[in-house]
Amino acid sequence: MRLLPACRPYRRIDMPDAFEFLSQGINGVVMGLLLSTIAVGFTLMLGVIGIINFAHGILFALGAYFAFTIKSLFGFWAALILSPIIVGIIGIIIERLAIKRMYGKDVLFCLLLTFGIAMSVEELIRMVWGKLGHSIAAPSFVSGSIDLGFMLYSKYRLLLAGLSALILFLVWLFLEKTSYGAVVKAGAQDSEMVGVLGNNINRLRTFVFGFGSALAGIAGVIAAPLWSVRPGMGNDAIMPAFVIVVLGGVGSFWGTVIGGLAVGLSISLAVMFLPRVSDLVMYILAAVVLLFWPRGIMGEKSLLEE
C-alpha cells in the first residue's frame, strides 16, 4: 500500500538543509516524469475512447513483470523494447475482445469491465510469478551514483528521468507532428466529430488503447528497478494517474505533464516536511485545484461532462 517507496529520504533529518531540499526536489521531478509517462496513455484513452481504464495499473505491472523475465534472459535493452510491445498487443486484444462491445453503452459498463480485468489479471500475475515481490537490479552501466558536483545522485534515477522525458517527447512529437497524431489529439477533444469527419473511429479506438497500453508497459519497465515488482504494484501506479488527469484536465498532453510534475514534487516535498501526509498530499492538491479549475489546469470543455 505504500506509495512511491523509492521516494523516501535515505535518512531522516529534522531541519532540511538546502542540499536535502535540492535532492528531494530532483527526486520529485524524476518521479513526476515517470508518473506523467504512466498517466499520458491513461488520459488519451479517457479522452478518445471515453473510458476510465482501471486496467491501466495492471498493464503497468505487466510491463514490469515482462521486463523482469525478459531482462533475466536477454538484458535491459531487450526488455525496454519487447515488454511494451507485448503489453501493447495485450491491450489491443483486450480492446478487440471485450471493450469494443461496450461502445455506445453506459460508461459504467466499461468501467466495470476494466475493473474485472484488473482484478483477474492481478491474480493471474500471482499465479504466474508468485505472491512475493521481486527486485530488479538496475542495469550495470547505471548502477551506483554519480557526483553532481554538490551531491551524489543515483545514476539509474537520472536514466529514468531521461527515458521518461524522451518517451514524453516522442508522444508529443507524434501528437503534434504526424497526421494520425493530429487525429488522436482531436479525438481526445471530440471523438464524435472525428468520426463524422470520415476517420475510422473503431480503428482509432483500437490504436489508442494499444498505444496507451504500450505506454503503461514501458513505464512499468523503467519503473521496475525503482519500485519493487509485486502483484499489487498496479494500484500504486493507477491512483496517481487518476489524480494527474483530474489535475491536468482530460486528454491534455501538457496538462498531464504539469499534473505529473506537480504530483511528483508535492509528494517529495511532503516526504521531507510532513512524511505522514505524503500519500495524501496529491489528493489534497487535486481538491484545491478543482476549486479553482473545475476541469483541471489545461482541461477544456469535454463531451464527457454531458
Partner: protein, 295 residues
C-alpha cells in the same frame, strides 16, 4: 432473505451488503451518478461506530447514529464540490476523494489505528424502552436485528424514490438540462441524493463494524467501491429496485464459495464480473425484464 442454516453470519453479511448497495443504487440508478468512491462512506460509518464504542459510550443506537451522520457529513462535503459533475468525470472525482479518505484512515494512527485498524469493541445489547435488552452477540439475534434495519432502510428508500423528490432525481438522471429548465435546482438534488446515499452507506458500514467487531482502512479502499458497483449491477439494480439485494447475495456466496475452492478466487471473481458485464449487462433481474417485454 432466506436464512441458510448454519450460515447465520454469512446471511447477516449479505443483508449488510444489500443495505450498502441499495444506498449506492439510489445514486446510481435513480439519480444517474456513477460514484466510484462509496466505500469511503461505508468505511467512515464503520469508524464512526467503532470510535463511539471505544472512546465515548457503549451504546448501540448512538454508535449507529454517529456512523451514519459522520458518513452523511463527509458525503455532504464531497457532494458540494462535485455535484456539478456527471458521467465519467463524476466517477473519477468520487474515486479520488474516496482514496483521500482511505489514506486518512491509513495514516492517522492516533484516531483510526492506522494500518492495524480498530478492534476490541463488541456489540452492545439492543435496548428498546419497555423491553428487556436483547443480546446481539448471538448470531441469530444479530441477524434478525440486521433484517429489521434493512427492512426499514428499504422502505424509506422505496418511499423516497416514489415521492416527488424521487421523481425529480429520476428527471435529473434522464435529462438534467430539461429538469433544470423546468425550474428545479438540479445541483441541489444531486447533492442531496449523494448525501443521503452516503448516509445509508455509512449506516451499512456501521452495521458491518458491529458484525465483525473490527474496522480496517481496507474498508475504504477503491476496490471495495468497485465491488459495490458490481453488486448493484450484477443483481440488476439498474432495472429493478431489488437488484442490489440479489447482487449482494450472489457476491457474498460467490466470494465464500470460490474462496473455499481456491486461493486464487479473485481471478474467478474478476472473470465473473467480466462475463456478467459482457453477457448480461442489465444484471440478473434484467433478464426477467427482457422476457416480460418479449411476451
Amino acid at each position: 432473505m432466506p436464512l441458510i442454516k448454519g450460515y447465520t453470519a454469512l446471511a447477516s453479511e449479505i443483508l449488510i451488503y444489500a443495505m450498502f448497495a441499495l444506498g449506492f443504487n439510489l445514486l446510481l440508478s435513480y439519480t444517474g451518478l456513477p460514484s466510484f468512491g462509496h466505500a469511503a462512506f461505508f468505511g467512515i460509518g464503520a469508524y464512526g461506530l467503532a470510535l463511539t464504542q471505544l472512546k465515548w459510550v457503549k451504546d448501540l443506537w448512538l454508535g449507529l447514529f454517529v456512523g451514519m451522520l459522520a458518513a452523511g457529513f463527509f458525503a455532504a462535503l464531497v457532494g458540494a464540490i462535485i455535484a456539478r459533475k456527471r458521467g465519467v468525470y463524476f466517477a473519477l472525482l468520487t474515486l479520488a476523494f474516496g482514496q483521500m479518505f482511505f489514506f486518512i484512515a491509513f495514516r492517522w494512527d492516533e484516531v483510526t489505528g492506522g494500518e492495524t485498524g480498530l478492534t476490541g469493541f463488541d456489540r452492545p445489547p439492543l435496548a428498546i424502552p419497555g423491553l428487556p435488552p436483547l443480546n446481539l452477540t448471538a448470531p441469530m439475534n444479530f441477524y434478525l436485528f440486521t433484517l429489521i434495519v434493512l427492512m426499514v432502510v428499504m422502505i424509506l428508500i422505496w418511499r423516497l424514490i416514489h415521492s416527488p423528490f424521487g421523481s425529480v432525481l429520476q428527471a435529473v438522471k434522464q435529462n438534467e438540462l430539461r429538469a433544470k429548465y423546468l425550474g428545479y435546482n438540479t445541483i441541489f438534488y444531486k447533492w442531496a441524493s449523494f448525501t443521503l446515499s452516503g448516509m445509508i452507506s455509512g449506516l451499512a458500514g456501521a452495521m458491518f463494524a458491529l458484525q465483525h467487531g473490527s474496522v480496517f482502512p481496507q474498508y475504504l479502499y477503491w476496490t471495495e467501491s468497485g465491488n459495490v458497483v458490481m453488486i448493484t449491477i450484477m443483481g440488476g439494480g439498474v432495472v429493478n429496485f431489488f437488484g442490489p439485494v440479489l447482487g449482494a447475495g450472489i457476491f457474498v456466496i460467490l466470494q465464500n464459495a470460490i474462496g473455499a475452492l481456491t486461493e486464487h478466487w479473485l481471478f474467478l471473481l474478476g472473470l465473473t464480473f467480466i462475463l456478467i458485464v459482457m453477457v448480461i449487462p442489465e444484471g440478473i433481474l434484467g433478464l426477467f425484464k427482457k422476457t416480460k417485454t418479449a411476451q
